[in-house]
């Protein structure tokens, strides 16, 4: 049943403010950034050529991909362990697991990065404790390096990795698990040969989300890396604010968007959007 023409127009008009707002405040300036990448400092493909030849830029790209890959493996594995309990545990276990997942999820990235600084810095909790029990004499360098970045990013991304896994684990038919156990398979074997393969779509979704998020990460690497393990996002920041080279910053941004877009397209070929939440 359709209403009168004016009703339909009225409803359609309701969509206009947000669309207009995002066209003016997001789509148009994004095109401006693309323009920057082709025109600053001189018109042409110079900045994209620089991307392919500049050793610093390339080492940052490689470091970003390496850190993103490690963080993905760590986060998905850790998320898997806690999601099993969140979805399949007893009611009390589920409440506790949910608390441990949601509290960090809602706390700001700055506070969480700061918590890691308090734990891992030279005079932080870990070093103080290890020295007081006489395990080490000199403080270990745990932040301002890649180790700190990986720890902090994994901590940030575990809750995000949990949601696709949880949705995969909720939807699987547990009678299959009971059947496997009933037929004499051990707990371990049931887990590895029945449970894990049945949550494959969740693992893929979770890994892609984590990986995509890690690529554009800014705050955690900047604080826990202490300028020593610069990732793509921080490089963009430095190119725009410290060595004003807007063209290169813009070109890296464009490449990042294209790369992430391709990964997302891949994601939606394997996983339905509904399975991600």
């Amino acid at each position: 049943m359709r209403g009168t023409l004016s009703d339909r127009t009225g409803a359609a008009l309701l969509m206009a403010p947000l669309l207009l707002f995002l066209i003016l405040a997001y789509a148009w300036p994004f095109l401006g950034v693309v323009k920057w990448s082709f025109t600053l400092p001189t018109p042409g493909l110079g900045q994209y050529h620089a991307l392919l030849t500049d050793e610093l830029v390339q080492s940052v790209f490689i470091r970003t991909l390496r850190i993103a890959a490690i963080v993905t493996v760590v986060s998905v594995t850790a998320a898997y362990a806690i999601t099993v309990v969140w979805v399949r545990g007893s009611p009390v276990q589920r409440v506790l697991a949910e608390f441990c997942i949601l509290v960090p999820f809602w706390i700001s990235v700055l506070t969480r990065a700061f918590g890691w600084v308090a734990l891992l810095s030279n005079r932080g909790l870990v070093n103080t404790w290890l020295q007081s029990i006489g395990f080490i004499s000199e403080p270990l360098t745990l932040v301002r390096n890649e180790f700190g970045v990986i720890v902090g990013m994994s901590h940030f991304l575990i809750p995000f990795a949990v949601f696709p896994l949880a949705s995969a684990m909720r939807s699987l038919d547990e009678r299959v698990l009971l059947a496997a156990r009933g037929l004499g398979s051990s707990r371990m074997r049931t887990f590895w040969t029945v449970f894990v393969p049945m949550t494959r779509s969740g693992i893929i979704g979770s890994a892609l989300i984590t990986f995509v998020f890690s690529l554009g990460f800014f705050v955690t690497p900047a604080i826990l890396g202490g300028g020593r393990s610069v990732m793509i996002a921080e490089l963009i920041y430095l190119r725009i604010f410290q060595s004003p080279d807007w063209g290169l910053g813009a070109a890296i941004s464009v490449v990042l968007v294209v790369f992430v877009g391709a990964l997302m397209a891949l994601l939606f070929r394997y996983v339905k959007p509904k399975q991600l939440v």
Binding site: L22, P29, I82, Q93, C100, T111, V257, V260
Partner: protein
């Protein structure tokens, strides 16, 4: 009810992950009570001086007030835009709805640093036209935050609309209600919870936004996260630990209240 329970190995691993997740949040508590001016563990005596400095130091207070103002304005803007858009999509049911929603969700999926460069471009371009609305102004930050939070608000409102029974709207329309009456008297009262959640989430996201804020502010619009960032990069000020403890306590309280409310709603 699932009857297939995790075994002991799963439980041990999950406990380790849980400890890992909570550890940095717990670590800030002792640090916030240190009597020292440096970021150290308290040895012996405890002190509340860093909590006091949050109230006494005008820098902290100013940035808290600024962040509140930006959070409220951007939350109102993004909730209003998300609400009208979602109502339009729900009532009009355009054939290209998926593409429109996809466009609206872009700021959520594009890497935040790229959105930051984009908004930097926008605000520096606008700066030339007006001085109150561009780069490093609180209105500019509020608008940029709205761009970043509006996808989240839209998702929440669309989800609550999807659970609404279309027949009540059809009945209202059959009885001659206008678009305005259907929206404000029939649909909105039924998705109140979704609208409030959207506004709250937009506020929280703006309140703690740092990635974009770093690109679009320099000396005037110092929001709370921006001030924390400055304190974290140079000399680490233990006042950040005190502030973190307060923020963590608020988060835990809100989560507990929310889960109680959700449970009550589910029980009804």
């Amino acid at each position: 009810m699932p009857t297939y329970r995790p075994g002991p190995v799963s439980l041990i691993l999950a406990v380790l992950v849980a400890l890992f997740l909570l550890m940095p949040l717990l670590a800030v508590i002792p640090v916030s009570l240190t009597p020292s001016r440096m970021l150290t563990m308290p040895t012996g005596e405890l002190s509340l001086r860093h909590y006091r400095s949050l109230i006494e130091d005008p820098r902290w207070l100013d940035s808290i007030l600024l962040s509140l103002r930006i959070g409220i304005v951007s939350s109102i803007l993004s909730t209003a835009l998300a609400l009208t858009f979602s109502l339009g999509v729900w009532m009009f049911q355009p054939r290209f709805a998926a593409a429109l929603i996809g466009f609206v969700l872009l700021p959520m999926v594009v890497p935040p640093v790229v959105s930051a460069v984009t908004l930097y471009f926008l605000l520096t371009s606008v700066s030339g036209l007006t001085s109150s609305f561009g780069y490093d102004t609180w209105l500019g930050v509020a608008m940029a935050h709205s761009v970043m939070t509006v996808p989240f608000a839209t998702v929440l409102i669309l989800v609550s609309l999807s659970q609404l029974d279309r027949r009540i709207d059809l009945a209202a329309r059959g009885l001659g209600a206008t678009v305005w009456e259907r929206a404000t008297r029939v649909i909105m009262p039924n998705i109140k919870f979704g609208i409030v959640t959207a506004a709250l989430l937009s506020f929280v996201l703006s309140w703690e936004e740092i990635g974009v804020t770093l690109f679009i502010t320099s000396v005037n619009a110092i929001t709370l996260p921006r001030l924390m960032w400055m304190g974290l990069r140079d000399n680490i000020d233990p006042a950040i630990a005190a502030l973190s403890v307060i923020l963590i306590i608020i988060t835990v309280l809100v989560l507990v209240v929310r889960s109680v409310v959700t449970r009550q709603r589910a029980a009804r």
